[in-house]
Symmetry: C2
Subunit: 158 residues, 2 copies
Amino acid sequence: MKNPQPKTPVADSPAPCNGAALRKAGRRLSQLYDEILAPSGLLLSQHSILVHIDRAKMPTMGDLARDMVLDRSALSHNLKPLERDGLVTLAIDKDDRRSRRITLTAAGRRKLAETKALWAQAQQRFETAYGVQKAAGLRKLLGEIYTDDFSAAFSAAL
Amino acid sequence: MKNPQPKTPVADSPAPCNGAALRKAGRRLSQLYDEILAPSGLLLSQHSILVHIDRAKMPTMGDLARDMVLDRSALSHNLKPLERDGLVTLAIDKDDRRSRRITLTAAGRRKLAETKALWAQAQQRFETAYGVQKAAGLRKLLGEIYTDDFSAAFSAAL
DNA sequence: TGAATATACGTGCATATGCCAATATCTGTC
DNA sequence: GACAGATATTGGCATATGCACGTATATTCA
């Protein structure tokens, strides 16, 4: 043998950072989707917010923030442009005056409908280029990461 | 049969957005890594920049931006805090005065060394909670997304 | 060589994201 | 029913990210 290896090569050639890889892929894919969505005037991040609001039916800030794996204050900030442009509105919850119920305005629903076709095109392109099965597998792998269970497991891991 | 299905259920129950899933997972994982890195005063994004600079040996802005799948101007902005804190320096390239060569300062190398142990801990926790094989598989799937080939395939896809 | 073009950066602006602190409101308890 | 503690949200600040535009430098070509 020409090179006696240690028993634990663990420290050697460390695997690339999972976090960095996730961020790189996120930046790239956001750009690709954004380019397709551009005609709508919405970014992927904004379209995603509208979709989540539409699905959730008058969620509170907390509800939506949890659903989107987004910091409460980040969501608050992110809603500003959408509010300013008249796509969403906030209203104090009748049962808990601390909470705000978020709703799509008529313009918001129109914009969402208009953007859906563009989003579908981006999604379609991704699935075609990446592979439908691989995409499904990827979403599954990603979905596990943003469950609360995973955060708990991460924090508990030694 | 009680409910004759159309031949192409493609339009129904659209798959969750790949882009949104990627962003959610990215936010979560960044938070988890950031929490572990906190004692170093660096964010995952900043640590990642230092690591890439260290690996690349005096890259130009363009080199590093490409390597990190980051917009040139975004990298320019992101380097500001690191420059201000004396971790990196920019110098005009001798052979091409348009280019800037990025280097870690002594303080930058110290900070990187100091942070590596923390990063390794976060990485270790992730691999433990997620599974080493699954993590490797995920990185592979993510890596394909940020290749130039994939961008080309995405743009070419109908 | 000098003009047209291409390339490398930085700046300004807008959105995205998160932490911490303040404010408003609710809840449980004495 | 008042008060301590919990919860929902916003605002301020800092970093992250990208686009459009401007500046500096290099390259190409007539």
